[in-house]
Symmetry: D2
Subunit: 144 residues, 4 copies
Amino acid sequence: MNDIRLSPPILKYNYRVIYADTDAAGVVYYGNYFRFFEIGRTEFLRELTGISYKEIENGGILLPVTESYCRYKASARYDDLLEISTSIVKLSKVSISFAHEIRNLKNGQLLATGYTRHASINRQGKISALPSFVLDKLKEHIKS
Amino acid sequence: MNDIRLSPPILKYNYRVIYADTDAAGVVYYGNYFRFFEIGRTEFLRELTGISYKEIENGGILLPVTESYCRYKASARYDDLLEISTSIVKLSKVSISFAHEIRNLKNGQLLATGYTRHASINRQGKISALPSFVLDKLKEHIKS
Amino acid sequence: MNDIRLSPPILKYNYRVIYADTDAAGVVYYGNYFRFFEIGRTEFLRELTGISYKEIENGGILLPVTESYCRYKASARYDDLLEISTSIVKLSKVSISFAHEIRNLKNGQLLATGYTRHASINRQGKISALPSFVLDKLKEHIKS
Amino acid sequence: MNDIRLSPPILKYNYRVIYADTDAAGVVYYGNYFRFFEIGRTEFLRELTGISYKEIENGGILLPVTESYCRYKASARYDDLLEISTSIVKLSKVSISFAHEIRNLKNGQLLATGYTRHASINRQGKISALPSFVLDKLKEHIKS
């Protein structure tokens, strides 16, 4: 998946960079973009489907990350206001892939793109279909 | 507890600062010293009592932090080798306090001092005495 | 400073707990409350004085943390919406102290209180008075 | 680069998982594997070439991450002792790629594989060849 393209619906969420996110090179630490991706996918679920990830978990299904990827194009810096864009790029009964773009909100510059893939498992760690109330809501909002 | 003094036995443990620990001011982020304190108290328990915190947990007792404090005297920087010194400064059946010093191993400079206090609780969240096999081991090694 | 009391003006800022903030005990990691304190003081400066910490830095003054303290009263959990309250409790030409309360926004439960103290230094690391445009703005808004 | 294969020389480095690394799912947070990768590549450089990344930086060359990837196969948990294996899988005058395997040291189970790619740039942010004393040292130890 070298070419990461978001497709509607896309959720945009703003995040302000704090010192804790940065490193001694003066920029956001590369590993912390995966925090931004987490914020993006959580708010995507909440805003576009009305379902929080916590509710899915309470229903007995977990969505652990099976793959994560990020390509860094330009640096995010302390106090930058970022725009995290998120869409679902792949969806099946037992897996979801989210794609992301991180931009500097002020000037629109693209800073990073990436994705995460998730398996749907039950509390025993076995692959298990997403509950239909989740899958139906997601399908309603995502053409994939 | 303005004056933090370690008393023997003291466990010394070395830690190499990575980029992830630092921030855009070029130094270790102030909140990350509490990671170093965690490393210090965990290795103190393992090395000086032969009991890992994980074993205490498996016995049904948790030691959540009830207070944490750090005083910053000089900066730790990327790639510095730190010496984390830890001792127990207070011990009762239902609480433990650890004190720490963080030094630059190369020149011995004192960078930070601090402490954490912990309550002993059971899985229901109620105050509950430390198991006697832990308390006895700790008393054996700590005069308090 | 055992008794931490905020005094007006108080800035309230909401923050949603993500997985990255939590630990295997199922609650927010104790060291991550210092991230919340950073968010609180940064937004306090921005909202109540119109000055961002970044502007202060650009003027050649840094405000490194010299002391940090947190008392934990109840746990914050994944997906909780927190209310970070911040006020300045001490102010001089060469130092600032911020106090904080962290509450669960849903039910108002107090989760943690704490403070940080900061020295005003120049780029050479020497104690140096806060710029008057900052100090005047702060005094205007803070009776201390 | 779907198939990540380390090739000699491989540096192995042990790391003990702390609470700060884990999340409320009871396992290491997916973004924190990139901390482990940083530890791996830093110690690879130090141990196998005698050059610290800090020295490269002091020589005016930075190696920012341009891509990062991780595939998660099994969970790492609190107090697990991990073995971080690192090798260089690609090397040119202006870029380096490191590959990693993370294993549970106790039973050898493979937990995660991944890689990072780095560009060689100067302090002005322009692509700039690695210093020959670094490149020569790396070539000496790496057949690529």
